[in-house]
């Protein structure tokens, strides 16, 4: 089983550090990339469009972010989807426990799940092996 590439999009710097450590410990992913908001992530996607192997397999997406939030990111992603033939799985990772956000996440076909913080190693293992 080849290790997958994971992107983490979240504005919380501490969370980024923590999740990085967890990902490393899980030993399920070949690479981790962190992005401060949706806009930066989209730009990165745009750049790596040619390089299929560099594209992420899984994205952990926060909802509340400046510049471009999670939902806006999903909209942009939908527009770009046709340009790459890799299946990108998105998981929402939020500290919000509001049902509204949970329900909303279900309307996006690309969002596979909704994780509430804190994220555990088990969660990541499940995600990685969820294909």
């Amino acid at each position: 089983m080849t290790k997958k590439i994971i992107w983490v999009i979240d504005d919380d710097a501490i969370y980024q550090i923590i999740v990085n450590k967890i990902i490393q410990r899980s030993e399920m992913f070949s690479a981790v990339f962190s992005f401060k908001n949706g806009r930066i992530a989209i730009d990165a996607l745009q750049e790596t469009l040619e390089n299929e192997t560099a594209l992420p397999d899984i994205i952990l997406l926060d909802i509340n972010m400046p510049i471009m939030d999670g939902w806006e990111f999903m909209e942009e992603l939908a527009l770009m989807k046709s340009k790459f033939n890799k299946q990108i799985t998105v998981y929402i990772v939020s500290s919000s426990i509001s049902i509204e956000d949970k329900n909303r996440s279900k309307t996006y076909a690309d969002i596979l799940g909704y994780l509430s913080k804190p994220v555990t190693i088990n969660d990541l293992v499940l995600i990685a092996s969820n294909d």
Binding site: D12, Y15, K36, P66, S95, S96, T120
Partner: protein, 947 residues
């Protein structure tokens, strides 16, 4: 005509022409008068001429005598000259000569033309030593006498010694040699006296004395008389001794004419009078003659006329034998009436064509006529025509008297009255019909005669007086009204009247109105009298009558003058319909109406009715005054009152809404605002029902209920609902803050703790603990923020005071001075001086700080930041407006987030998403509001509303 024959032909000619005869007579007599007068004139004229000649002769002779005397005197004087040429005894001789000739005023001797000797010298000294042969005006005449060697009288001229005079100069020669003159001087006065001119009767004539002046070629007159006498009759004689001429002039130039003029006129007048007399005398028989002729013509004409009338009259005329009844003469109309020819008629008598029913009466009348008992008669009778039909005719018979006064023939005139009879029949029929209508009418009818009433009122001079005057008169004169009642004559009444008055026979009512009219109904009768005085033909009133059983009945009285009796009021039809029952039901209706009305007025809403197309109200209940302040009268007066008083904002849609609903025949129930009389706005709920007739809306009925209080309550409710909603939103936001922000920290802590637990190296542990510390700090910060927000929310001990806005802006600028300086920010303040606002001091500072620092933080990288602070009033709210030219916010995306907690829109490291959240909370806590307008890359404007 006969008289003509008595006279010869030429006299007859004259008799026939009185004007000519009169004129000829006048001419003849005038001629005679003229002749006599002219003869007379001639005689008078001759007489006068003779007299004048005599007078002139006498005067002439006198003058001749006087001149001769002068001649003698000069001669004598000349004899005093001796041979030496010197006069001897001049004075003595002169004296003697003067004594013998009184006419002479002075004598002179003039040797060689120089006056040397004068007697008397006294008074004549002026002439002494005058050389007359050298004096211009004397020279000529003096030389003339020398040349003629004869005595010559010079003058008259102005004498040297004064006065007019004549000088007779006798030339003296000695030995055929001129010696000089012997002269006499006679004053003109004396000369004329001597001539006898003065003795002549000057009432008839006057004299003139003249000399022909050769030098001036004209005749000079010396007597002061009317110089121009050429028009008068005059005679004259010449005196050669002095070249003089004496005229005798008749004083009255027309004297002779006047003497003949008056007799002439009298003569002509007499001639004219005589001519007229002749004319008048001759005219009389002529006039008589023409009178006779005219009368004869007239007679002839009337005979023709009569014949024409007889033949062509539109009535039948016949001359009938009084005894036999035979037609002696008959006209065409008569024949045509009966269908016979004239000849046929003359063979018959009137008895044979008369209807037997009238024959006896006709004969009887004729008998009376013959006996002179009656002078004429006329009757309506029937005739048989030739075809046997019956013709109605009006016959008038009058006798033709003969000299013995016995009637033997008469004239009968017949007029076809078949048509009249026919119409009479019709009238009778309609009369009967009217009678039956009258009699059988279901309404009580009266036929009354008001003519005497009218006459009476006319006597009182009440006709056509003003109704008010008449009414007052009747009020103050009840006796007149009573008299009028008694003067009304009831001609007839019908069966219903008996019913109405509960009597058995007409007799009980027909006696007079006084029995029928009750005291209470006198005012109503007075109305009838007023109608009479005003010449009205109709009157309708509701009145009361009292029937024979003493019951009162309400009646509708209609008083109508029958056509044709408008002047006399001789026939008047009065109907007295019993309306007691109707009145009763009317009263019931009225009562129920009143009840409905009072019910309507008790309803706590405005009940109304209006036209479905124009929305013009035709009813509105009293309540409108309570609710809107307008009286129903005010409301109904103006057709568009309702529309005009709808609150301006609602007017358009209310009208459209009503039109649409009415068009669709839908009842509707809606709410709108109206402006009350006192200017306040009243909320009305209008419940409208559409009244439909034949499938079409004819009117709208409804009720307006005052819902102002409900509306206010609703508004309050709405406001509080909004407040709750807002607070709920904030609460939700707050719960998010709690759930999201706190959870993000706690989850981080949880994760870190889990990592620590499973960490294998000390180094990693320490690293993680360090991270934990950071998280704890963040959590603490978040807790502080939440605390701050909670503090604002709880709003306890919040003190507001009057603050100088400008002062606070300066304070904030000082706090931010470092940033302002480093970023070169320009802050423009457009605030009226000393603007004071009521605010919490800490909040005001915090708000200003947050917004201004935000503007600096999000300045546009490519331009200098300019921040403008304005203060303005918007909808009675104070507004603090802060605008910048910064990067702006995409409000389309971020509208709901901008004032949220931890909402940031940029990657700016300073962005914490707490400033605007706190600002918003502080402004809300002060009862205000904050709004934002922004455009990316242009700038942002915040408006802070201050209560």
């Amino acid at each position: 005509m006969k008289s003509d024959k008595k006279y010869p032909k030429f006299i007859r000619w004259f008799l026939k022409r009185p004007k000519t005869t009169g004129f000829i007579t006048f001419l003849f007599l005038s001629y005679v008068a003229c002749f006599i007068v002219s003869q007379q004139y001639k005689l008078i004229k001759e007489d006068e001429q003779r007299e004048m000649n005599n007078i002139l002769n006498v005067v002439h002779q006198n003058i001749e005598q006087a001149l001769k005397n002068c001649y003698t005197t000069t001669l004598t004087l000349a004899l005093t000259i001796n041979d030496k040429g010197i006069p001897e005894n001049f004075d003595y001789v002169s004296e003697k000569l003067m004594e013998s000739n009184h006419n002479i005023n002075a004598v002179q001797l003039v040797p060689n033309g120089i006056i040397k000797y004068i007697y008397p010298l006294n008074g004549n000294e002026a002439a002494l030593n005058l050389n007359i042969l050298t004096t211009p005006n004397l020279k000529k005449e003096a030389l003339k006498s020398i040349a003629k060697k004869k005595m010559y009288f010079a003058g008259p001229f102005e004498l040297k010694q004064g006065g007019l005079g004549i000088v007779g100069r006798f030339p003296v020669f000695q030995n055929n040699k001129f010696w000089g003159f012997s002269a006499v001087i006679i004053k003109l006065e004396n000369f004329l006296k001597a001539s006898g001119i003065k003795n002549v009767d000057d009432s008839k004539y006057y004299f003139q004395f003249s000399k022909y002046n050769i030098e001036e070629q004209k005749e000079i007159f010396y007597l002061t008389n009317k110089s121009d006498f050429s028009k008068n009759y005059y005679i004259s004689t010449d005196i050669p001794d002095g070249d003089w001429k004496i005229y005798l002039i008749s004083k009255n130039k027309n004297y002779l004419y006047s003497q003949i003029f008056i007799p002439g006129i009298i003569g002509i007048i007499l001639a004219a009078l005589f001519g007229i007399l002749i004319y008048t005398l001759l005219k009389i028989p002529r006039e008589l003659q023409s009178l006779v002729t005219t009368q004869a013509t007239k007679l002839l004409n009337s005979e023709i006329k009569f014949q024409a009338i007889f033949d062509q009259a539109a009535v039948g005329i016949a001359h009938i034998d009084s005894f036999t009844g035979d037609f002696i003469e008959i006209n065409n109309q008569y024949c045509q009436l009966l269908g016979y020819s004239q000849q046929e008629m003359k063979e018959r008598n009137f008895q044979s064509v008369t209807h037997p029913e009238e024959l006896e009466e006709d004969l009887m009348n004729l008998e009376k006529l013959r006996n002179g008992k009656i002078k004429d008669y006329s009757m309506e009778k029937r005739y048989f025509t030739k075809s046997g039909a019956i013709v109605w005719a009006n016959l008038t018979v009058s006798p033709l008297f003969k000299k013995n006064k016995k009637v033997s023939t008469h004239i009968s005139i017949v007029e076809d009255i078949s048509l009249k009879k026919e119409s009479e029949k019709l009238i009778k029929k309609s009369e009967i019909r009217f009678k039956s209508l009258f009699e059988d009418s279901p309404i009580p009818l009266w036929e009354e005669d008001f003519s005497e009433v009218k006459n009476y009122l006319q006597e009182l001079n009440l006709i056509y007086e003003s109704p008010e005057t008449v009414a007052i008169y009747f009020k103050t004169h009840p006796d007149v009204v009573e008299k009028c009642i008694s003067l009304v004559r009831i001609i007839d009444l019908n069966a219903m009247c008996l019913d109405l008055h509960k009597v058995k026979t007409k007799k009980e009512l027909i006696l007079g109105l006084s029995q029928i009219i009750d005291k209470d109904s006198i005012p109503d009768f007075t109305k009838q009298l007023i109608a009479v005085t005003q010449g009205q033909k109709q009157l309708i009133i509701d009145t009361k009558i009292k029937n024979s059983q003493g019951e009162y009945r309400d009646v509708n009285l209609r008083w109508n003058v029958i056509r044709g009796y408008e002047k006399s009021l001789g026939r008047i039809i009065i109907s007295t319909e019993d309306i007691t029952d109707r009145k009763y039901s009317e009263k019931i209706i009225l009562n129920s109406q009143k009840r409905v009305e009072s019910l309507i007025n008790t309803i706590d809403g405005i009940v109304w009715e209006c036209d479905s197309s124009s929305f013009t109200f035709n009813f509105i209940s009293q309540k409108v005054e309570n609710i809107l302040g307008y009286t129903p009268e005010e409301w109904l007066e103006n057709p568009t009152f309702w529309q005009d008083h709808i609150y301006s904002e609602d007017r358009e849609w209310v009208r459209n809404y009503c039109m649409i609903k009415t068009n669709d025949n839908l009842d509707h129930d809606f709410e709108y605002r109206m402006v009350a009389k006192n200017g306040s706005i009243v909320w009305l709920r209008d419940i409208v029902n559409i009244v439909i007739e034949n499938g079409k809306a004819v009117s709208l009925r409804g009720i307006m209920i005052d819902v102002t209080k409900t509306k206010e309550a609703e508004k309050d409710l709405n406001d509080s609902f909004n407040l709750v909603k807002e607070q709920n939103k904030r609460l939700l936001n707050f719960s998010y803050i709690v759930s999201h922000n706190l959870r993000s920290h706690t989850s981080n802590i949880a994760s870190i703790v889990a990592l620590i637990e499973s960490s294998e190296t000390e180094e990693e542990k320490e690293q993680l603990i360090e991270l934990l510390k950071t998280v704890s700090c963040s959590l603490n910060e978040t807790m502080l923020h939440l605390n701050e927000v909670i503090n604002i929310r709880t709003n306890i001990g919040l003190v507001s005071e009057l603050l100088n806005l400008e002062q606070y802006i300066i304070t904030v600028k000082n706090v931010l001075s470092e940033q302002i300086a480093s970023h070169e920010v320009i802050i423009l303040t457009e605030i009226p001086k000393d603007t004071m606002i009521n605010y919490n001091p800490a909040y005001l500072e915090s708000v200003l700080y947050n917004i201004i620092s935000n503007s600096i933080r999000y300045k546009h990288p490519s331009r200098k930041a300019i921040i403008t602070i304005k203060f303005l009033i918007e909808n009675d709210m104070k507004v603090l407006q802060i605008s910048d030219n910064g990067i702006g916010i995409d409000l389309v995306r971020n509208a709901d987030k901008i004032f949220g907690m931890y909402k940031t829109f940029s990657n700016n490291l300073d962005s914490k998403g707490i400033g605007l959240f706190i600002t918003k909370n502080q402004i809300d806590a002060m009862g205000g509001n904050i709004t934002v307008e922004s455009e990316p890359n242009v700038g942002t404007t915040f408006k802070i509303y201050i209560q």
